[in-house]
Symmetry: D3
Subunit: 136 residues, 6 copies
């Protein structure tokens, strides 16, 4: 079950830079992944070669941003006690970033919206754990 984000207090800032400022939010990765999926859908619906090339150019950038935002969460936000409590976390992040990348079936190398959905599913899992640790 997905952690009901609606319940998290809105005044809590979730840091993301490496000062660190302490503001992190999986929404950054999710928004880019939604874009990746939407680009795939538009690509499938449009056979114009110029449009398709642009879709590939832009999806490449958006997928890279997904990877970056996830890497930041994995290295900067999550700490040893989290990895102890959630032993699946390392592998989950590794799979999620691979799913956003250029390997077989990854969202960079596939124009199937399902590849974007796969990334979104991994991010939802990460997001659940993230918000649980915030409640802690």
């Amino acid at each position: 079950m997905r952690l009901p984000r609606l319940l998290t207090p809105r005044t809590v800032a979730h840091a993301h830079c490496d000062l660190p400022c302490g503001v992190y939010d999986p929404a950054q990765a999710r928004i880019e992944a939604e874009s990746v999926k939407a680009i795939c859908e538009k690509y499938q619906a449009n056979a114009d070669p110029e449009f398709r090339t642009r879709a590939l150019i832009i999806k490449e950038q958006r997928s890279e941003l997904v990877k970056h935002h996830l890497w930041v969460l994995w290295t900067d936000y999550f700490k040893p006690p989290h990895f102890e409590k959630y032993p699946q976390l390392h592998e989950l992040f590794n799979k999620a970033t691979k799913a956003a990348g250029g390997g077989e079936g990854g969202a960079k190398s596939s124009m199937d919206p399902q590849s974007g959905q796969q990334v979104l599913d991994y991010i939802a899992e990460i997001s659940d754990i993230f918000w649980e640790t915030k409640k802690g």
Copy 2:
């Protein structure tokens, strides 16, 4: 009053790239602005010169990202009918991006958390209008 984001359907994607993919979300600007404010707070609480220099370096980047995300909304998401319906929109965006910038009192040139809050307030106003147009 801030539009209750909690009511927006979660399956709605809010595009942000310039394919355009159609996924936009003011949360991108807001998260960076929260970071800007948090950096100011940490700066005020820490007199170490190395920390303070790093805070200035990173806040510069985060403020630039605030500006970028707002510019994208202004140019790519909002269309002529929106500007007609919300005649204050141009000026609101201009003020918001100036507030995030390096001019007098702007969040780049000030280490007062209030300058970050000012940007957040403008983004909340933009966000309200944004979500209203999404409901439309």
Copy 3:
């Protein structure tokens, strides 16, 4: 009529960074837009698929730079008194950045040199106003 740039004093610096240093120059946007138009022309004259893909990749970057340089002028250079004196300025910048973007007919989504020329025309208009304010 385009403001005769030749008459502007050469020792006047036109700032562009957000210190702000005070050096702005619409030539930055214009040079990128000239590139956008030239890329379209070369694209139309060359059917080689590898060349065409590269043209799309590079035009995407150059168009983005056009938008960025224009946004900087709009937010960082122009001040409230300018917007009062030139009430068309907000809309002009909004149209110019849209014309450089990925929406319908925009210079990112079209390979017609005319789309690049449209951006150049908007920049010339902005440039006229810019140099008038410099004289003031």
Copy 4:
């Protein structure tokens, strides 16, 4: 004496982009980490405030590059069978990227050359495993 490059097998490519092209090399992370350490040393030897600020600016960038190159290896090069054979690999990469970051004692937040050396030590460990898998 220069290590005879001619002796290294020229046909072995070590891929690093996400086509993927198949060329990876931990030297990319190592060179940036050597720079991080050297910057710390120069910082300690020079009390000039302008030099010190520049050192902080540049070290921030170089440390970020260390993190990026390591993330790429972790996500793009290493595959499930590697993680099975080297069960310490996830934690090693997590520690290495944390050591290059802005957390307590990390190479971004410290000007002690020892913090740069710590990153280099982790990279050497990763490098040993990397080259073992290449032999495999």
Copy 5:
């Protein structure tokens, strides 16, 4: 003597990307160098430590852009016949990019406006040659 730019035909585009689109213009390097010099002047006139740190951050970026724009001209615009006709060109570019860099007296490592002027002088020399080759 500086080549009178005013005489160059305005319809001539001067390419700068690496398609190549054929549009080059030394003004790109010059505008950044003007910024570098202006930043030095503002730095000398303002003792506020936060302002000074920001000035160093931004000058670092602008100096890097000067180098980049010059490198592009040297590699992409100038061809073997130019280097034959202007045998001083290689050294001139090498000195100009060094003057914009972090070595002793370079514009990155000095806050003396004279270091920015030195870069501008080199760019004026390059610009003269550039426009002569355009006339050819």
Copy 6:
């Protein structure tokens, strides 16, 4: 067999940033050029249009990095006495960066692996001179 890294003197740093930190290494350019060549080979072996477009996108970035790393060596590492001792150095760097670029036969505009090999050959020449100056 892995070349024994342990035999390379660990105290020799090869600087590359513009503090300058003093760490330079032609391996940075070489690794990117190996990637360029590998991308060409994969392109020739795969007729899938999506894969080919991605190959062009990524090769464009990698070739640009080759140019950047070479420019840094030319401007930041090599000093007047080097150019005196190796009078061919200016031209060598100019040819090498042109070979990595978008001009006729350059590695950006060609998908022939031979164009990548040409860049690698130039880098090997530069590397030989670089390491000779290090011994000096």
